[in-house]
């Protein structure tokens, strides 16, 4: 359930489902997201579900905070529509060319490179949400001893394909973009395809993935 609704600026509702991150809270968020998306309320122009929040943005020319809040408070979220979750294998190369933050991670986690990779690879992760940049999936949960904070100053450019970590989460940079996560490796996989307007994302909330290590040669030959 939504614990609290407040305003984010003058053109969005901030729906708070709690502070914990787990599948059960995330499913609640998705349920609201799907219900509101289906109903197409006049003026709502975007919905952003995340781990435990739902941001509802609206066109201030058509509606306002009071109206949208009233609407959201009075809807009954239907049971989540089956999202056809998939299981996927993600090839990742952790060669020093790609693992830009391995030294930082070794220091923060007090683990060797080998141990960090062993902890990260060949485990199942759940996709909580997509966004930040087009198609970027956010996975969880990393083991307790693998959790590091974001960089103090985000990088202006993180290379496309970077597989990165922060706290209990991992993600994939689908494009070169600014970003503050700890970069561990790089995948040659195309995770976002804008030519597929219906389904541009390879990975969607609810999917499960496993990262499999590949060598630099395999990486270079991957798309040939």
């Amino acid at each position: 359930m939504i614990k609290n609704i407040s305003n984010l600026g003058d053109a969005a509702l901030y729906c708070d489902f709690g502070n914990e991150v787990n599948k059960s809270i995330n499913s609640e968020v998705i349920k609201y997201f799907q219900t509101i998306k289906e109903k197409k309320f006049e003026g709502i122009n975007n919905l952003t579900p995340s781990y435990n929040k739902l941001i509802i943005s609206y066109d201030l020319k058509k509606t306002n905070f009071k109206e949208v809040k009233n609407y959201v408070e009075n809807i009954n979220p239907e049971d989540s529509i089956d999202i056809n979750s998939k299981k996927l294998e993600i090839p990742v190369c952790c060669h020093e060319n790609f693992s830009m933050d391995i030294k930082r991670l070794e220091e923060i986690l007090k683990l060797s490179r080998e141990k960090i990779l062993e902890n990260f690879l060949n485990k199942e992760y759940f996709c909580y949400m997509t966004g930040f940049i087009a198609g970027m999936p956010f996975f969880g949960d990393l083991d307790e001893n693998m959790r590091a904070q974001r960089l103090e100053t985000p990088r202006v450019k993180v290379p496309k394909g970077s597989v990165a970590l922060t706290e209990q989460f991992a993600n994939i940079y689908t494009f070169e973009s600014p970003g503050g996560w700890n970069i561990l490796g790089n995948t040659p996989l195309d995770v976002f395809d804008s030519s597929k307007e219906d389904k541009p994302n390879l990975i969607n909330p609810g999917d499960t993935v496993v990262f499999k290590e590949i060598t630099l040669d395999q990486y270079k030959n991957y798309n040939e």
Binding site: L8, G9, V21, N46, T48, S50, G131, P154, E167, F175
Partner: protein, 314 residues
């Protein structure tokens, strides 16, 4: 092949096609995009008798130098822009907010924006562009939109698929006003910052950094001290959100922003001030002023009425 087209002699620094942008896509990570300065975008279209949601060429700092081939067409430039129009025998200094008729062989040379960032070039007609998710707006980070999602490039040819039959010349006396303060609404993590940090945010000046683009505006100035946590669980963003990462320097989300972010939100720029915010060039000083939600809503209504008035007079 169309016989009416533009050729790019010099593309300029950040020249893209933009329109009203695309919505209902935040959940897959695709931002609004669209013209950064919405009011100047609308005026540009109105000056050349276009539909208000038509595509225009947006440029930043140095604009494009363009050669036109084809039958007569109107063009107009909005913003605070220095440009010239070169005809067969003469070159005239262009004025913003006036439409001009150009013909085969004429050139438009947009030299630069003046103490501002974005300018708009509208042509009276319709560019032949690819639409993705109902918009031709170019998002260069995700390579979405027309022109393969890339900035316009030298030597490129851009076809027009329609030229407006209405070739009335139009003019307006609009002046881009500068405002002293950018008004903000308290952010959802306002209480993460120390009393001193909050005071710094509202009382000190910040400088727009040169590391600013269509995605975000980075600010430099006194550090804003966070006393709770410098990270939050990543969650949705909207344009105008001011995030403060651990280094204490605020970043304001702009039209091509990331849809999700994990830095605490100290404030959100009021919608009424967005068009003017994006025009603040690197080196400009910004001071924030707090307003409440109801004032922000009223001010936006007034701003929108003013925009509609301006448009109706053209």
């Amino acid at each position: 092949m169309s016989s009416n087209y533009l050729e790019i002699i010099r593309p300029g620094i950040n020249t893209t096609f933009q329109d009203k942008g695309r919505d209902h896509l935040y959940h897959i990570g695709i931002p609004f995009s669209g013209a950064m300065d919405n009011r100047n975008y609308l005026i540009a279209n109105k000056l050349v008798n276009n539909n208000l949601d038509s595509a225009v060429i947006e440029f930043a700092y140095q604009g494009p130098h363009i050669k036109y081939s084809g039958e007569k067409i109107n063009c107009a430039i909005t913003g605070d822009v220095i440009f010239s129009i070169k005809k067969k025998d003469t070159e005239i200094e262009g004025k913003c907010y006036e439409s001009y008729q150009i013909e085969n062989g004429d050139e438009i040379n947009i030299i630069s924006t003046n103490k501002s960032v974005y300018g708009y070039l509208a042509l009276g007609g319709e560019f032949d562009l690819k639409f993705q998710w109902n918009s031709c707006s170019i998002n260069t980070k995700a390579n979405i939109g027309s022109n393969d999602g890339k900035k316009l490039d030298v030597g490129q040819r851009i076809n027009l698929k329609k030229i407006n039959s209405n070739k009335d010349i139009k003019k307006t006396n609009y002046i881009n006003t500068k405002i002293e303060n950018i008004r903000v609404i308290k952010g959802t993590n306002f209480d993460y910052f120390s009393e001193e940090g909050k005071q710094i945010f509202y009382e000190n000046e910040f400088t727009v950094s040169k590391l600013s683009d269509r995605m975000g505006m980075r600010l430099e100035g006194p550090k804003i001290d966070n006393i709770v946590n410098t990270n939050i669980k990543s969650e949705g963003l909207i344009k105008g959100v001011i995030q403060v990462p651990a280094d204490g320097n605020p970043i304001i989300m702009l039209s091509d922003h990331g849809t999700i972010g994990g830095y605490p939100k100290i404030g959100v720029v009021a919608s009424v001030d967005y068009d003017r915010l994006v025009q603040m060039s690197p080196g400009s000083k910004i001071k924030f002023k707090e307003i409440n939600l109801s004032d922000a809503e009223t001010l936006f209504k007034l701003y929108e009425m003013e925009t509609q008035n301006l448009l109706s007079q053209i």
